[in-house]
């Protein structure tokens, strides 16, 4: 390698680094500008929607798809929002709860899944979609760093924040799906033929499940639960934890164990896993863990009566 080659190669590498940095920033700021206008879609739109209503809404539901598809919050309170999102668990919910205003009285309904609580491995991977706010929100950044989900290259290439989300953002910017005026985060599941057929086959297959015998609360779950409880206690929030119905709960032991944990922490808990036990029908379900819109409405009515949320 002679001097000329060293200079040429160094120039090329430097050019690539500089140009890729500039291209990245141009793309990042363009996508951010578009992203901030998006209010539809589960990953970004709903997050933006949440950030815009979180300070003024009286009741907010957090949790996974089971919270999202099962709880019609308007049946519980007029000023309400369902922030349940597919595949999101306690770390995601905890991060969003920490963004709530500190001195405003609010009710938080947190969906807790015993199956997640007693998982041996929980890597908080689901909080990755919050990455879109990595460079704009310090609390989110802190939580993502803590969850060890950041990419070392992200400090240089900011577009990594939008990894896997750019097309969805564009689609939702061009074709907004929801009526923002009336959308409040609840997404009932209307079951189509394909879904019904898949569920029927799953039922026919009757997979056996091995229930855990040595139940150990996942330390991360416990830690986030305590943080949420502490945040709510110190910031004028009522925290209610619930578990929504399942088609069949083959392992009730973890529910019981979680109930005890929540009791010890003095956290209000309502377990509805067996809500439909004596009146269950396959048409109430999209799959083992998700109710159809019909069943979700029935459940929300019952929940509203149970929780006695004051105005």
């Amino acid at each position: 390698m002679n001097k000329k080659q060293i200079i040429q190669s160094t120039k090329l590498i430097a050019f690539i680094i500089i140009l890729s940095f500039v291209v990245d920033k141009m793309a990042y700021f363009t996508i951010t500008k578009i992203s901030d206008t998006v209010y539809s879609g589960q990953a970004i739109g709903k997050l933006n929607h949440y950030l815009s209503i979180k300070d003024t809404t009286k009741l907010i539901v957090f949790g996974s798809s089971r919270a999202n598809h099962h709880i019609d919050v308007k049946k519980l309170k007029a000023s309400s929002f369902n922030m349940g999102v597919d595949g999101k668990f306690i770390a995601y919910s905890a991060t969003l709860i920490k963004l709530l205003p500190k001195d405003v009285k609010q009710t938080i309904i947190l969906h807790v899944d015993p199956n997640v609580a007693y998982r041996a491995h929980y890597n908080r991977e689901e909080t990755k979609t919050l990455m879109v706010k990595y460079h704009t929100n310090d609390i989110i950044k802190e939580e993502l760093v803590r969850a060890d989900l950041t990419n070392p290259l992200q400090e240089f290439y900011w577009c990594v924040d939008y990894n896997g989300l750019a097309l969805g953002i564009l689609k939702n910017a061009i074709f907004p799906k929801y009526d923002l005026e009336h959308y409040y985060g609840y997404d009932p599941m209307e079951i189509d033929g394909t879904q019904k057929e898949i569920f029927q086959k799953i039922l026919e297959r009757n997979d056996s499940i091995v229930c855990q015998t040595d139940l150990k609360l996942n330390p991360l779950f416990e830690s986030y639960l305590k943080e949420i409880d502490s945040f709510c206690t110190n910031n004028n929030k009522r925290l209610i934890t619930i578990t929504t119905p399942l088609y069949i709960d083959k392992c009730p032991e973890d529910n019981e164990a979680l109930r005890k944990v929540l009791e010890d922490l003095n956290i209000e808990y309502h377990d509805y896993s067996h809500f439909f036990d004596n009146r269950n029908k396959p048409e109430y379900w999209a799959d083992i863990a998700h109710m159809s819109n019909i069943a979700a409405e029935m459940f929300s009515e019952a929940l509203s009566k149970d929780l006695s949320i004051d105005d």
């Binding site: 690539i16 890729s20 793309a27 990894n163 750019a166 097309l167 086959k201």
Partner: protein, 469 residues
């Protein structure tokens, strides 16, 4: 160490700088390469380094012995020792459980319950690749096609050179060894080729293959619950996933080697633009298919006999080639399907007195290969059976889409990947030499754009598919 890891992003430039700093001393350069290659491998699991060293030593020693011996019988015995040593390693680490399980199942067919032992064996990464590489060296020396090297560092580097150590390309000693033994010169155009090919390889792997893999994995996990359209879509996705995964890996390997002044042979040449099944095998995993041709098919007699004899050799080669990929009957069936397709195509072309099937030739190979991929991907024979049955008795229902964002990302990136392939096919260019044709500004712009696509659309996968082989 994975090519698509941050560690490799640090490792490669570090080796590159140190390597070219030593360019006045070939011996030191080769020692650096050897140490770097062992570090690269040990980063995954240092305990299996001993297998590479063992395999390298055996073939280094046997190569010299074969060359020094005049007696044909002694030469043959040395060769046998190499075959037993290398294939013995493979048999022990890759096929032991397969053989014992298959034997027990066969006995059960006759009504005999056999207690069999299965071992909890971890498959050492790259064993199938470096075993074939060292074997080709010894066989070439035996066939008098190659003079053995007495430079132990060069030979050990040939076996373990990090760009090709864990998943090929399976480089022949006749190509790579002279490059290791002779002074390498830094070539600017190779540097451009290397940078461009590494960038494209990464895009193919982490953007196209890994995004398609998300859908494929979810559908193939429970094929029994999905309809025919869904399974067809997943299988089409898989055919592109495996192509872009392995071609991407090969691109990074070839590109990395070029940065260090080595020229590896092309491993993929747009296989889905083939116009016959035979053509696919000229373009798909070229280093393996040519290895099987030269060291297995020809050893079995090749086409030097009756038609039936040739067909037998083709079938055997393809079945064993299938089994090379993994210790399951699914791989043998995959190989057998390809063997049958090659034989059938040969017969049809001979009867019709044609060399290819014209424009139909650009369609049927992909369709047939698609079915064979089912056996390659399905978790077991039962699952493959379910899928094939559903593909044959097609129910024409709406496919299950799942995460639309993931599907849209996978499809749009596939479109970009295929557009590049189409451009290469139409313009009769190789990806391997495309970088040098771009001015530094164009190259920088292209690589920057690829980096942007990777940042925005990379998906995470634990491994390259071919690591499991």
């Amino acid at each position: 160490m994975l090519f698509n890891s941050i560690e490799y992003l640090i490792f490669l430039p570090t080796v590159f700088i140190l390597y070219w700093l030593l360019n006045k001393d070939l011996k030191k350069q080769n020692i650096l390469l050897l140490v770097a290659s062992y570090f690269f491998y040990a980063y995954w699991d240092w305990t299996f380094l001993s297998l590479i060293i063992y395999s390298s030593f055996i073939d280094y020693y046997i190569g010299i012995k074969i060359y020094e011996t005049n007696s044909p019988k002694a030469k043959k015995n040395w060769l046998r020792l190499s075959l037993v040593s290398n294939l013995g390693l493979l048999a022990a680490f890759k096929y032991f459980n397969f053989f014992t399980d298959s034997f027990a199942e066969m006995m059960l067919l006759f009504g005999w319950q056999v207690d069999h032992v299965t071992l909890n064996i971890i498959l050492p990464v790259g064993i199938s690749f470096y075993t074939f590489q060292t074997l080709s060296y010894t066989i070439d020396v035996y066939r008098d096609k190659l003079k053995p090297t007495k430079n132990i560092v060069a030979f050990f580097t040939f076996v373990s050179l990090f760009p090709q150590l864990v998943a090929g390309p399976i480089e022949r000693a006749s190509n790579l060894l002279p490059q290791i033994e002779n002074v390498r010169k830094f070539k600017q155009k190779w540097f451009h080729d290397g940078i461009f090919q590494i960038a494209v390889g990464l895009f193919r792997k982490v953007v196209i293959a890994d995004n398609l893999g998300v859908y494929v994995d979810s559908i193939y996990a429970s094929p029994d619950v999905h309809n025919s359209s869904t399974l067809l879509l997943a299988t089409i996705f898989y055919s592109y996933q495996i192509y872009f995964d392995f071609a991407g890996y090969s691109d990074i390997a070839i590109g990395s080697a070029k940065l260090l002044g080595f020229k590896f042979n092309q491993n993929f040449n747009l296989p889905y633009f083939s116009n016959s099944i035979a053509d696919i095998w000229q373009r798909w995993h070229i280093s393996l298919s040519s290895w099987l041709r030269d060291y297995l098919y020809y050893s079995l007699g090749g086409s030097r006999g009756s038609g039936l004899f040739t067909f037998r050799n083709l079938m055997l080669t393809m079945i064993l080639g299938g089994l090379w990929h993994g210790n399951s009957w699914n791989f043998a069936i995959w190989g057998a399907i390809h063997g049958l397709l090659l034989v059938s195509e040969k017969i049809i072309f001979t009867v019709l007195k044609i060399k290819n099937a014209g424009w139909i030739g650009y369609i049927y190979p992909f369709c047939l290969v698609l079915v064979s991929w089912v056996f390659f991907r399905a978790k077991d024979f039962e699952a493959a059976g379910v899928i094939v049955k559903k593909l044959i008795f097609f129910d024409f229902k709406v496919p299950f889409i799942g995460d639309t964002n993931a599907i849209a990302t996978g499809l749009s990136m596939l479109l970009i990947g295929m557009s590049l392939d189409l451009y290469l096919f139409k313009s009769k260019q190789d990806l391997e030499t495309l970088g040098r044709k771009l001015s530094p500004v164009k190259l920088g712009a292209a690589v920057s754009f690829i980096i942007l696509l990777i940042s925005l659309f990379y998906s995470t996968s634990n491994n390259f598919i071919y690591f499991q082989f």
